[in-house]
Symmetry: C2
Subunit: 161 residues, 2 copies
């Protein structure tokens, strides 16, 4: 007898965090793979440079985890300047890695399924908002792979996390 | 009192299927957005044309669901020829959409956490193998967005599923 699909739980909060941090380690390697100047200036088809995409991931990650945890939706560090070097970007990245490990496990269980309006705009259950941040990172990181290939640089293996 | 994170179930099989089908609808719109000839020939940085990526998604989706469901890992339809037109590709795509809706809910509950070696090569719990297929689709579809931009074509909105 097959269980009702709606009742089959397939991912725990812990597994989502581990998967996300795996993706974030890969994204970090993609940032590192760019030459400094290309990271902030190179793009294809009139799109944003990869540093702008990475900055978007940073502006979403901890603020979303904070929002899902507390139902307070605040922009990323209003006083933090946008990094202008690879080293600065990676430094903020690594601070977020530790913050996510600390904050994610403290999200109250009921908040994953509770519907809330993220940043006053996107109405979804907490887990959907978190999944959106992860999917958005995978999506744009894939674009960074094209930039690297166009620059003649071999990107890191997608399956290595 | 915050529940133990390892015990907090955040996604059901049904939600994973719905999210995947949402991504697949977006991927279908990306396939449609390509002019016929560009779909099979255009690329950036020496990468594959988007039709080859879409074909990879097709070769992974149902075979992975079959493999997780049954523990038999079979290549996608050994006798099926690779599509050479957009219409053929979309037709196979739509057949898979229906097949996934039929087969995914029949995956036995225990198979999502059970470790199995997908296609004799990748050893992971069933849900991780399924998530890999979804993430791989998001990753390469993001690359298709760059191809479209490089062609001067506005891609479909990422957040619309």
């Amino acid at each position: 007898m097959v269980a009702e699909i709606k009742e089959v739980n397939v991912l725990s909060a812990d597994e989502v965090l581990k998967s996300w941090q795996g993706h974030r380690r890969l994204t970090r390697r993609v940032i590192e793979a760019f030459p400094e100047d290309k990271l902030f200036a190179f793009s294809v088809g009139g799109m944003r440079p990869f540093a702008d995409m990475a900055w978007e991931f940073i502006r979403m990650a901890v603020p979303i985890v904070d929002g899902v945890a507390t139902s307070e939706w605040k922009e990323f560090g209003g006083t933090e300047p946008k990094p202008t070097t690879k080293a600065e970007l990676l430094k903020v990245w690594d601070v977020q890695t530790a913050e996510l490990n600390e904050k994610f496990p403290k999200i109250p269980a009921h908040r994953f399924s509770e519907v809330d309006t993220a940043f006053g705009q996107w109405k979804n259950p907490g887990i959907v908002t978190i999944q959106y941040a992860i999917d958005n990172e995978i999506h744009h990181r894939g674009q960074g792979y094209v930039y690297l290939r166009a620059l003649g640089i071999e990107p890191p293996a997608f399956w290595e996390r």
